[in-house]
């Protein structure tokens, strides 16, 4: 059922050119050089430290590594992170 719904959403974005982040609950990530990273559509903070931030996403996690991190703004679905960003990577949700 869930898979079928996901497929439908994928088809809708392709056919109707709807923004993927809105339709499919994907994170939208905006970066300004290495200084800022702005993440929308996150599901919460898993880990926050000076050199690593882990955010929970709908399916998986987002790992940001760098130096001197500071959460400038944090709202229910948005985060503005400041510092020196070196690495952004996705971790897939382990399949059960």
């Amino acid at each position: 059922m869930a898979k079928w719904k996901h497929n439908l959403k994928g088809w809708l974005t392709r056919r109707l050119e709807l923004p993927a982040d809105a339709v499919m609950d994907l994170p939208r990530i905006t970066m300004v050089g290495q200084l800022h990273i702005y993440i929308e559509n996150h599901q919460g903070v898993l880990k926050f430290s000076n050199d690593e931030v882990r955010l929970l996403l709908k399916n998986g996690q987002l790992v940001i590594r760098g130096e001197d991190f500071m959460l400038k703004t944090i709202l229910p679905e948005e985060i503005l992170l400041e510092g020196k960003i070196e690495h952004v990577s996705y971790l897939d949700k382990p399949k059960n």
Partner: protein, 395 residues
């Protein structure tokens, strides 16, 4: 931008959250819409974050649930800034001393202006004013009232007829009316001198004119004494008659003097009390004790303190208590007669012309009635009896 302004005006705190589940705490804050920002990590179990002052209470349940401890490290924003400034000792003492200074300076004389006087008189007036205490730097509430100043200054300066004293704020204005120098007398018109009242002539001095009466003549009011016509009849000339004619006149006075009378007099003993008034209540500063006198009259002088141009509900009051004594005076009949004569003499002299002289005094009649002595006194007086009347020439 909006957030920034809110931060400034509502005041926020930097707090230190200590616990092993600080991320959970952050998530809960987001979930319950408690705005937090500028989050940074200090060490493994400590984070620093900013929070509105008003939200401190709201995070308490989440702290409990996530087993975190909190400590406030800094208070920022406008309200805290104000508090800090206001409660800092230097600032506060500065404000207080500034207000005090203005208060003191508002109650000082700062300038004196004189209007309507020549420079010479102005200088003299300023000197007199200084003697009375009106000079720069003097406290206004220590000075006599405007009426007193006015009276004293008018008395002590011969050159002025009147001086108006007005105080506006810390400035004294003196409005001066200077005496006019006597102008040259206009040439006199031709005139006669006639008798003003019935009298027997005692002395005649003539400066100009023709004498119409002799010494020891009896004259009636209106009778010609010194004529303004001089020269022989066919060559007569008109002059302003000048001269003095003294005559003996008679007056009868009726005086009644009570034998017994009571009145209050000051004994000369006095006490002063000073007090501060605030909104009409008076706080004594000096002179707490009850006066030692049983009978006294009070003279109250009150000066309001000023702040810049406003009168303040603060005042400084000086109360002078003058001891009085009730005195009963009793006259014997003889003393009463003496007093009556004194009273009637004064009365007569006030009625007659300036250089009058009492020649003879005779008590015609006296009686005691209802505790009063009624006296009738007859006076013989030598005074000037002449009166000028202009000569109006006919046709």
């Amino acid at each position: 931008m909006k957030e920034y302004i809110k931060e400034l005006f509502s005041g926020y705190v930097r707090i230190k959250v200590v616990g092993s589940y600080t991320e959970l705490f952050i998530n809960r804050c987001i979930e319950y819409h408690i705005p937090i920002w500028d989050i940074s990590r200090v060490n493994n179990d400590t984070i620093l974050l900013s929070l509105y002052t008003g939200d401190i209470k709201r995070i308490r349940p989440h702290l409990k649930r996530t087993r975190c401890k909190v400590r406030i490290t800094a208070r920022k924003g406008f309200p805290f800034l104000v508090k800090k400034v206001v409660y800092s000792r230097g600032f506060l003492s500065g404000v207080i001393s500034c207000i005090l200074l203005i208060l003191i300076l508002s109650n000082m004389v700062w300038s004196i202006t004189v209007n309507g006087a020549t420079p010479e008189v102005e200088h003299k007036l300023k000197q007199v004013a200084e003697e009375l205490g009106v000079k720069r730097g003097e406290f206004i509430f220590q000075l006599p009232t405007n009426q007193e100043l006015q009276q004293k200054m008018t008395e002590s300066l011969e050159e002025i007829t009147w001086v108006g004293v007005k105080r506006s704020g810390s400035t004294y204005h003196f409005e001066v009316v200077q005496k006019q120098l006597p102008e040259k007398q206009p040439p006199l018109n031709a005139r006669h001198i006639v008798a003003d009242k019935k009298a027997i002539i005692t002395k005649i001095y003539v400066e100009e004119g023709q004498v119409q009466v002799k010494e020891n003549d009896y004259v009636k009011p209106g009778q010609l004494l010194i004529s303004g016509f001089i020269g022989k009849e066919d060559k007569s000339e008109l002059v302003p008659a000048r001269g003095e004619v003294f005559g003996k006149t008679w007056y009868v006075t009726d005086v009644s003097i009570p034998l017994k009378s009571t009145f209050e007099t000051n004994t000369g003993e006095k006490e002063a009390k000073y007090s501060f008034g605030i909104f009409g209540f008076h706080l004594p500063v000096w002179g707490f004790s009850k006066p030692e006198f049983s009978q006294y009259e009070t003279i109250v002088q009150e000066t309001n303190l000023r702040f810049l141009k406003w009168e303040m509900p603060l005042s400084f009051q000086t109360k002078e208590l003058l001891e009085t004594k009730e005195v009963t005076r009793e006259y014997t009949e003889k003393e009463a007669l003496l007093a009556a004569s004194q009273v009637s003499r004064e009365d007569i002299l006030s009625k007659t012309s300036e250089n009058a002289e009492i020649k003879e005094e005779k008590i015609l009649h006296h009686e005691v009635e209802n505790g009063k002595v009624n006296v009738k006194i007859h006076y013989e007086i030598i005074e000037e009896i002449g009166k000028n009347i202009p000569i109006i020439q006919g046709d």
